[in-house]
């Protein structure tokens, strides 16, 4: 399932301030805070809606190109 997705969800822990906004507003309950920083709890559930990226005040989570860089 993950392979068919166009983009990849990245987190940048060193920019995360642990505000919990992305966790609270992710419609799929994909995210959590771990030791006060953003953590992807269940990547399979992510629909790549982009809401976390839109609402993160610190640009610490985003959808980017796939790992192999083909897309």
């Amino acid at each position: 399932m993950t392979a068919s997705k166009e983009k990849k969800l990245y987190v940048k822990k060193d920019w995360c301030k642990g505000c919990n906004i992305c966790v609270a507003f992710c419609p799929m309950n994909t995210l959590e805070l771990k030791d006060g920083k953003i953590n992807i709890k269940d990547i399979e559930s992510c629909t790549q809606c982009g809401r976390c990226e839109l609402l993160c005040p610190d640009y610490a989570i985003y959808l980017g190109g796939t790992e192999d860089g083909k897309k």
């Binding site: 990245y10 940048k12 060193d14 920019w15 301030k17 642990g18 505000c19 919990n20 906004i21 609270a24 507003f25 990226e53 839109l54 609402l55 993160c56 005040p57 610190d58 640009y59 610490a60 985003y62 959808l63 980017g64």
Partner: protein, 273 residues
């Protein structure tokens, strides 16, 4: 590594920004960058100007021509920039204190002149940077360090103020409605004249704590649940609008633009010679 948007439009070396955890300013700043990106403007054609305040720190992070000026005076500097180089897309980023308290006079006159500047006010209803003093947009009855028993002033409706003073594009959105901020900033930048976008922000550190509004998530929930789009408002019964505030585009009109009028005068003399 960071997103292409952030890489292309921000000064990565200055990030993460200094704003508190959950401060809404970061969300709004990103929406402005997306708006510029989607309009396809050349970075060198954009100038972002601010005054002083947490909100006014934004241009320090944004990779365009930028000016961080004096408290309340962003519009005065921006007017100078626009008069000197009318081809620049000039954006003012300001706070409710910066824009409506110390800078209120500049706001009404920039609106009146209809000079082609897009102003985005990050309205968090308080002076964040200096520790939570009440501002002209702190709702009546709410608290600040300078209103420990509740604010007795009536608060400004900034959009009504800008419209009344002559702005030709007026809209409101919130940090929760980040895509709406983007759309309004795009429309504002495309409007030839003075455009005013009020982006309601959240300040969990001062406004939130002083007024027991909960954490950043609760404050975002409030923005989500307490807004009604102006398009829907007319059809709703009065009780459905109680405790809510309106978002959306409030006003748009075409009026002579200041730098164009000025150029006409210059041109008339050049023709004479």
């Amino acid at each position: 590594m960071t997103s292409t948007l952030v890489e292309n439009h921000f000064r990565i070396g200055k990030l993460p920004h200094i704003w508190c955890p959950g401060c809404g300013h970061g969300i709004i700043m990103r929406s402005i960058a997306v708006a510029i990106d989607e309009l396809g403007y050349d970075k060198n054609d954009v100038c972002v100007v601010s005054g002083i305040g947490c909100s006014s720190r934004a241009p320090g992070y944004m990779d365009f021509n930028t000016l961080h000026t004096l408290h309340g005076r962003a519009l005065a500097y921006a007017t100078g920039v626009k008069m000197a180089n009318p081809d620049l897309k000039v954006i003012v980023i300001t706070g409710d204190g910066d824009c409506a308290a110390i800078g209120g006079n500049h706001l009404i006159h920039a609106s009146r002149r209809n000079i082609d500047i897009t102003t985005v006010v990050f309205n968090n209803n308080i002076y964040g940077m200096t520790g939570g003093q009440y501002s002209p947009t702190t709702p009546t009855g709410e608290k600040g360090t300078t209103a420990p028993f509740g604010n007795i002033d009536r608060n400004f409706d900034l959009c009504n103020l800008a419209k009344g003073a002559g702005a030709t594009y007026v809209a409101r959105s919130t940090a929760y409605h980040a895509n709406m901020v983007k759309q309004q900033v795009k429309a504002a930048l495309e409007n030839k004249g003075f455009s005013f976008v009020e982006a309601v922000s959240i300040c969990p550190t001062y406004y939130g704590r002083k007024n027991k509004k909960g954490d950043a998530v609760s404050m975002m929930e409030y923005l989500k649940n307490s807004t009604v789009n102006v398009k829907a408002a007319d059809k709703l019964p009065k009780e459905k609008l109680e405790g809510k505030f309106l978002v959306g585009e409030f006003y748009k009109s075409e009026e002579p633009e200041y730098t164009e009028e000025y150029k006409k005068i210059i041109d008339s003399f050049q023709k004479e010679r």
